[in-house]
């Protein structure tokens, strides 16, 4: 007899706790304002990332197609996984001096861990982390990027 009472008691207790749990679900069902889901990608236009969010490394250019990279390779050394390759060339200035300049700033996005060490290492603040996080491409080779734009040159007055 006791066993039977216990059996039914457990069933009632079980139902009670189930209802208790369901109450929460019900609460959210009638309070849709408390739902925080974002409708990505529909909200792409309004989606704003946080300012510090690290999406990918970019080399800043101004409106005259000038950048601040002197080709010192500090970022290349700071990078833990060989993501950055700085390829420099020697060019002759109008005064006849030979100076080092970057030829190509190669950035292998596929190897980057977004650790921010290169940005901290750069003495001239030439590179920053952009907020762009949509990196999907159809071919792996597209992930190797040349960051200095064609025809760009070093900004006046930037020295190591």
């Amino acid at each position: 007899m006791k066993a039977i009472i216990h059996y039914f008691k457990t069933i009632f207790a079980a139902l009670k706790t189930l209802v208790k749990g369901m109450a929460i679900t019900g609460h959210y069902f009638i309070h849709p304002k408390e739902i925080i889901t974002q409708q990505y990608p529909e909200n792409r236009d309004t989606l704003k990332m946080f300012e510090r969010f690290r999406g990918e490394v970019v080399l800043l250019h101004n409106e005259n197609n000038e950048h601040r990279c002197t080709g010192c390779s500090a970022c290349e050394i700071a990078c833990p996984n060989g993501t950055i390759e700085i390829i420099t060339k020697r060019v002759e200035t109008p005064e006849g001096r030979k100076v080092k300049q970057i030829d190509r700033f190669v950035y292998h996005l596929s190897m980057c861990t977004m650790c921010n060490l290169c940005i901290l290492a750069c003495p001239t603040d030439a590179i920053v982390m952009s907020n762009d996080f949509e990196h999907a491409v159809f071919d792996r080779s597209q992930l190797t990027k040349i960051l200095n734009k064609p025809g760009s040159k070093l900004m006046e007055g930037v020295r190591h």
Binding site: T10, A13, A14, T17, L18, K20, G21, A23, I24, T25, I36, M49, F50, E51, R52, F53, R54, A78, P80, T113, M114, C115, N116, L117, L120, M129
Partner: protein, 372 residues
């Protein structure tokens, strides 16, 4: 044929692979189970599916670079892993960072513990068949990851610590957001109890399941909430207070039952304690530099250095042997997941396969932490 008939039906032990692609192993862990019907006779974990040789890679990296690799060990505790390496390096250099850095590190570490436990809670429910909890756990965790994203620049692999301090100062909104989160989560944490802790199905599946005695917890080296649920007092934050933990009041959660439900309760209670710690610190962040002046090239003096910290899963140890160079001669991580996993066989013997899922869930395994 005849002989078989005479002997009647005979049961036989057989082997089954659970994982490496199994939803409840939470990653690529392969368990070789030997079963007698539904009863688990033996559990043999096979590791190596996500081994990236982080320890070896550390031998070629500078101390500043090592930090970001530890993000990828226990990814739910990346800040705390970073902190462990940074503290080890700072100890070796005999640098003491200022109070501001210590306080911020502690606040973020506790937020990290909360977010890790929230995820664990969600996944634990899901392992036992309640998908709803997963969504609720992630809802609250989202607020923390947003705070991380705003201040540290990333949601998971934050790399916010550096030897000698922090990468950036805290975001101006940091304190406001953390307080808003605490206010929100204080209301939501009781919901966790209402949804899962009191649920009868959940209790049936956890109370008395997967017992681990205190002696066994100690001899297997089981730390963290898993060990504390067996009565093994092992909180590094209490015993060897680092960062700002000596300045705050909090309880070490101890249970004695050692079953799945005790482990569950230990984590829920820890969430309350973490909130309590953050509350004490959030209004009292002292002024100061966010990064101490450090040499560009960090070289540790010759010797051996060890630092322990408390991650959400237990005790993480960083053991550095330096020959005086820019990178360590050898770096060893004592990861909590690895030791906790070693006790799985002991806990699961004699229970049902379904119980094994519950046990694994309450150990809170993160596979990259085990494999490294």
């Amino acid at each position: 044929m005849m002989a078989d008939k005479k002997a009647g039906l005979k049961s036989q032990e057989y082997f089954i692979n659970m994982g490496p692609q199994h939803p409840s192993t939470h990653g690529v862990l392969r368990l070789l189970l030997s079963l007698d019907g539904e009863i688990v006779k033996k559990v043999e974990p096979h590791l190596g599916y996500i081994h990236r040789s982080i320890e070896k890679m550390c031998e070629f990296d500078s101390y500043g670079q090592i930090v970001h690799l530890t993000d990828r060990m226990d990814y739910l505790a990346s800040h705390i892993n970073n902190e462990a390496v940074c503290l080890a390096v700072e100890n070796a250099l005999e640098i003491e960072v200022n109070e501001r850095i210590k306080t911020i590190r502690t606040i973020i570490a506790e937020l990290q513990r909360l977010s890790s436990h929230q995820l664990w809670w969600g996944v634990m429910g899901m392992d036992l068949g309640a998908i709803t909890t997963f969504l609720y756990g992630f809802r609250d965790r989202e607020m923390i990851t947003d705070i991380f994203e705003e201040t540290c620049g990333a949601r998971l692999t934050m790399n916010y610590n550096m030897p000698g301090g922090l990468m950036f100062d805290i975001h101006p909104d940091f304190q406001k957001k953390v307080k808003a989160f605490l206010k929100h989560f204080k209301k939501k944490l009781p919901e966790y109890d209402q949804l899962l802790s009191d649920n009868v199905i959940f209790r049936e599946r956890t109370v008395g399941v997967g017992k681990l005695s205190k002696e066994d917890a100690i001899s297997y080296g089981v730390t963290g909430p898993t060990g504390r649920a067996s009565g093994f007092s092992n909180d590094v934050r209490k015993q060897e207070a680092y960062s700002a933990y000596n300045k705050v009041n909090f309880k070490e959660i101890l249970y004695t039952e050692g079953d799945c439900f005790a482990r569950y309760k230990a984590r829920i209670d820890e969430m309350w304690e973490s909130m309590h710690i953050i509350e004490q610190l959030i209004d009292n962040i002292p002024e100061g530099l966010y990064r101490e002046k450090m040499r560009k090239v960090i070289k540790l003096p010759k010797g051996e250095y060890y630092q322990r910290v408390e991650t959400p899963r237990g005790e993480l140890g960083v053991y550095i042997i330096s020959e005086g160079g820019m990178s360590p001669y050898r770096l060893k991580f004592r990861s909590p997941g690895f030791s906790n996993l070693s006790a799985l066989d002991h806990m699961a013997r004699g229970s049902k396969i379904a119980d094994l899922v519950a046990i694994m869930s309450t150990i809170d395994l993160v596979i990259p932490d085990i494999d490294r």
